[in-house]
C-alpha cells in the first residue's frame, strides 16, 4: 500500500467535488419516440405478476401500432426480481438518467413502488403503478398515477355484501405486509360498521407460507365466513387446503378479494374454488366489447393464457399514457403529462374507470363474483356491482 496513492486519490476526490462533472442535458428529451421504463418482477417469487403485465403491454402495443401524437412508443423492460426495493430504485434511477425515459411504469409490489417514488418526484417523471395495491402509494409522489386498484377499494364491497348475505361472524386471514394489513383493516371497519363481528385476525408470512395451521385455527373458531387476502399466485395452495381441511363442510363460507382467485391460476385451482365469493375490479369473464377486445389481443400475444387483474392494470396503464400524450399533443414534460392524465375517464376492459384528479388514484366499479364452471372452465362470474368505488373504499 502506498501513501502516494492515498494522497493522490484524496486530491482527486477534492477536485471531483469542486468541479461540476460533465453537464448532463435536461432529462426529458423531445424526439419522435416516447420511452417508457417498465420495471417488473420478471424472475423470482412474483414473476407471474411481471409476466402478466408485460404480456398485456405488448398486447396493447400490437393492438395500437400507430404513433401517438407523432410519437412511437418504446418499452425498456427491467427485472427487479420482486424482492429487492433497492434494485427497483436503482433501475428507476438508471432509466431516468441514462435511458432518458419519459415515464416509469410497472411496480409489482408495494415496497418496490415506494422505493421508486422519490425518483419519480426528483426526475419529474410520470410513474404508472400497474400492480402494487396499498392505499398510500399515490400519496408518495405527485407523479404517481395508479391503474391497478387499492385494497380498501376491493375489500369494502365484500364486507358490505357479506353482511347482506347473512354472515354475522368472520375471521380474517391476510398476508403480513402492507396490502394485507390494508385489506384486514378495511374489512374489519366495514364489516363491524354493518353489525358483523370479526372473531380472529390471522396473518401469514409473506414467504414460504404453509396455510394448514392457520386454516386449522379458522376451523376451530367456526365463524360464518373466512375473509382472505393473499398476493396473486398464492391463492392456489390456500384454496386447496381450505377444501382439504373441510372448512366448507364445517359451514364456513369463503369470501375475499379477487386476488385469491386470480384468473391466471383459477383453472388449476380446480373444484375447490367453486362457490367462493370474492370482490374485485376485474374478471376475465366480464361481459363487454372492451373486454372481448382485450382478451383477443392478449390471446394473440400469449396464446393459451388468460389475462388476470394484473394484466388489465398494464393494459389500462398504456391507455392512460397514450391519452395523456394525445392531450399534451406530444409534449412529454412530466408535470404536463400528469396533469393531462389525472381526471381521465374511459371504459376499460374491467368497466368504467376514472383517475381521480386529486388523488391520482383509480375510481372504478367493484364487482361481486362467484366462481362457477362454464364450458368446462372456471370463471369468476360477476353477479353484483358497486359503482364508482374510491381508493379508500
Amino acid at each position: 500500500m502506498s501513501i502516494v496513492t492515498r494522497r493522490s486519490a484524496i486530491t482527486g476526490f477534492g477536485i471531483a467535488l469542486a468541479t461540476p462533472p460533465l453537464a448532463i442535458p435536461a432529462l426529458a428529451q423531445s424526439g419522435d419516440v416516447f420511452r417508457i421504463g417498465l420495471i417488473l418482477p420478471m424472475t423470482g417469487p412474483f414473476a407471474s405478476t411481471g409476466r402478466q403485465i408485460e404480456a398485456a403491454i405488448r398486447a396493447w402495443l400490437r393492438a395500437n401500432p400507430a404513433p401517438i401524437a407523432g410519437k412511437r412508443i418504446e418499452i425498456l423492460l427491467r427485472d427487479d426480481t420482486g424482492v429487492a426495493p433497492d434494485v427497483t430504485r436503482r433501475l428507476a434511477q438508471e432509466l431516468a438518467v441514462r435511458e432518458r425515459v419519459q415515464a416509469l411504469a410497472g411496480f409489482g409490489l408495494t415496497p418496490l413502488a415506494l422505493a421508486a417514488a422519490p425518483i419519480a418526484t426528483e426526475a419529474k417523471l410520470p410513474m404508472i403503478v400497474m400492480a402494487a395495491a396499498t392505499a398510500i402509494i399515490p400519496s408518495r409522489s405527485p407523479f404517481i398515477l395508479r391503474t391497478a386498484f387499492s385494497l380498501p377499494q376491493a375489500t369494502a364491497p365484500i364486507a358490505v355484501w357479506a353482511q347482506r348475505a347473512g354472515i354475522r361472524t368472520a375471521v380474517t386471514l391476510v398476508t403480513d405486509f402492507a396490502p394485507g394489513l390494508d385489506a384486514e383493516r378495511a374489512f374489519k371497519e366495514r364489516f363491524t360498521a354493518a353489525g358483523g363481528s370479526v372473531t380472529a385476525e390471522l396473518r401469514t408470512p409473506l414467504r414460504n407460507p404453509d396455510y394448514a395451521p392457520f386454516l386449522q385455527r379458522v376451523r376451530d373458531a367456526r365463524p360464518d365466513a373466512l375473509f382472505i387476502f393473499v398476493p396473486s399466485g398464492e391463492g392456489a395452495p390456500l384454496m386447496r387446503q381450505f377444501a382439504e381441511r373441510g372448512l366448507r363442510e364445517a359451514g364456513i363460507r369463503l369470501i375475499g378479494t379477487g386476488d385469491v382467485l386470480d384468473d391466471d391460476i383459477l383453472n388449476d385451482i380446480g373444484d375447490s374454488a367453486l362457490g367462493a365469493v370474492t370482490s374485485h375490479h376485474y374478471s376475465a369473464a366480464h361481459d363487454s366489447a372492451e373486454n372481448r377486445a382485450f382478451l383477443a389481443a392478449y390471446a394473440a400475444q400469449a396464446p393459451g393464457q388468460r389475462p388476470n387483474f394484473m394484466a388489465v392494470g398494464g393494459w389500462d396503464g398504456m391507455h392512460l399514457l397514450a391519452e395523456g400524450l394525445r392531450r399534451t399533443q406530444g409534449n412529454t414534460d412530466g408535470e404536463r403529462l400528469v396533469a393531462a392524465m389525472a381526471g381521465q375517464e374511459w371504459i376499460s376492459p374491467r368497466g368504467p374507470v376514472r383517475i381521480d384528479a386529486q388523488s391520482r388514484d383509480i375510481v372504478q366499479d367493484i364487482y361481486i363474483r362467484r366462481t362457477e364452471r362454464r364450458d368446462g372452465q372456471l370463471w369468476n362470474i360477476e353477479f353484483d356491482r358497486v359503482e364508482r368505488v374510491g381508493p379508500m373504499g
Partner: protein, 287 residues
C-alpha cells in the same frame, strides 16, 4: 385437544415430506463431503415431471410419482458423472459457487419450459378430502404422506443396515481412503448414492407439489430448510435427519397454530438452540 392432535399430525406430515426431500443432501454431504445447494433442483425436476405426466398426459398419480423419482435419479446420475466429479475434494466455497450456479441454470430452464407460474395438480379422488377418527380430522393426502414417507425412511434405514450396498456405503462414509484401500469401488458407490439421493428428492418434489407449491423458485425457496435438516440432524445417518425433519415440521406447524404472531422466528430460534446444544447433530454422542 382434537385439533391439537390434528395440528401435530399436520406437522408430522410436513416433516416427513421434508425428510424425503433432504435426506439425499445429508448423505451426499456425509459421503462425498460435497455441499450441494442444488439438491432442491432435483426436487423441482421431480415436481415438474409429476405435473406434466399428471396434468397433460393423464398418467395415474402413483406412476407419476415413480416417474418423477426415476427422472430425478437419472438426472442426478448424469450430472454426477459429468459435473460433480470435478468438484469432489474442492473447498466448500467452490462447491457453493458451483451448485448455486446449477440452481440458477435449472431454475431458468424450468421457467423457460414451464413458465413462472405456480404449478398445481389434481389429486386422485382417493387422496382428496378428509377423514375423521374419534373427532380427529386429517387430510387423506397428509395421511398418505405420513405412510409413504415413513415407509421410505424405514426402507432407507434397513437398506443401510442390512444390505451389502449399505455396508459398503457406510464403510465409504466412515473412511473413504480405507474403503478404497480395501478395494471398494468408491466412485461407483458415489454415483449410485448420488442418484439415489436425487431420486428421493425428486419423489419429495413430486409429493410436495400439493403442499409446498412448485415454481422455478423452488430450489432457492426451500434450500434453507434442507440445510437446517442436515445441520440439525447431522450427516451420515438416516435417523438423525429424520428426527430433525420431524421436529422442524412439528415446531413450524405448531408454532404457527398457537403463536402465529411470532411467525417463522420460532423455527430459526429452535434451530440455533439445537445447534448450540448438539453441534454434531441430534443423535451424535457427546465427545
Amino acid at each position: 385437544m382434537a385439533s391439537a392432535i390434528t395440528v401435530l399430525l399436520d406437522g408430522v406430515a410436513a416433516g416427513m415430506l421434508l425428510f424425503v426431500l433432504s435426506v439425499g443432501l445429508s448423505v451426499t454431504l456425509g459421503l462425498m463431503n460435497v455441499v450441494n445447494l442444488a439438491h432442491g433442483a432435483f426436487g423441482m425436476l421431480g415436481g415438474y415431471v409429476c405435473v406434466v405426466l399428471l396434468n397433460r398426459l393423464g398418467v395415474p398419480f402413483p406412476l407419476a410419482l415413480l416417474a418423477a423419482a426415476a427422472a430425478a435419479a437419472a438426472m442426478g446420475f448424469v450430472l454426477e458423472r459429468l459435473l460433480y466429479v470435478h468438484i469432489y475434494g474442492r473447498d466448500h466455497l467452490t462447491q457453493v459457487l458451483f451448485s448455486i450456479g446449477l440452481v440458477f441454470i435449472m431454475g431458468a430452464v424450468a421457467d423457460w419450459l414451464m413458465g413462472a407460474r405456480t404449478q398445481l395438480i389434481q389429486l386422485p379422488s382417493w387422496l382428496s378430502g378428509r377423514m375423521e377418527f374419534a373427532g380427529i380430522g386429517l387430510g387423506r393426502y397428509r395421511l398418505f404422506l405420513i405412510i409413504l414417507c415413513g415407509f421410505v425412511a424405514l426402507a432407507l434405514h434397513f437398506g443401510l443396515v442390512r444390505t451389502r450396498f449399505g455396508a459398503r456405503l457406510r464403510a465409504a462414509v466412515d473412511d473413504g481412503v480405507v474403503a478404497r484401500g480395501m478395494g471398494l469401488p468408491v466412485g461407483r458407490i458415489f454415483s449410485i448414492t448420488f442418484a439415489l439421493g436425487s431420486g428421493l428428492a425428486g419423489l419429495g418434489g413430486a409429493l410436495g407439489v400439493e403442499i409446498l407449491g412448485l415454481d422455478p423458485n423452488f430450489p432457492l425457496k426451500y434450500m434453507v430448510y434442507f440445510l437446517v435438516v442436515v445441520a440439525v440432524g447431522g450427516a451420515n445417518s438416516v435417523a438423525g435427519p429424520f428426527l430433525a425433519a420431524l421436529l422442524l415440521g412439528v415446531v413450524d406447524v405448531a408454532g404457527k397454530y398457537w403463536i402465529p404472531e411470532v411467525g417463522a422466528f420460532i423455527i430459526y430460534t429452535a434451530m440455533v438452540v439445537l445447534l448450540l446444544a448438539r453441534p454434531q447433530g441430534l443423535l451424535a454422542r457427546a465427545k
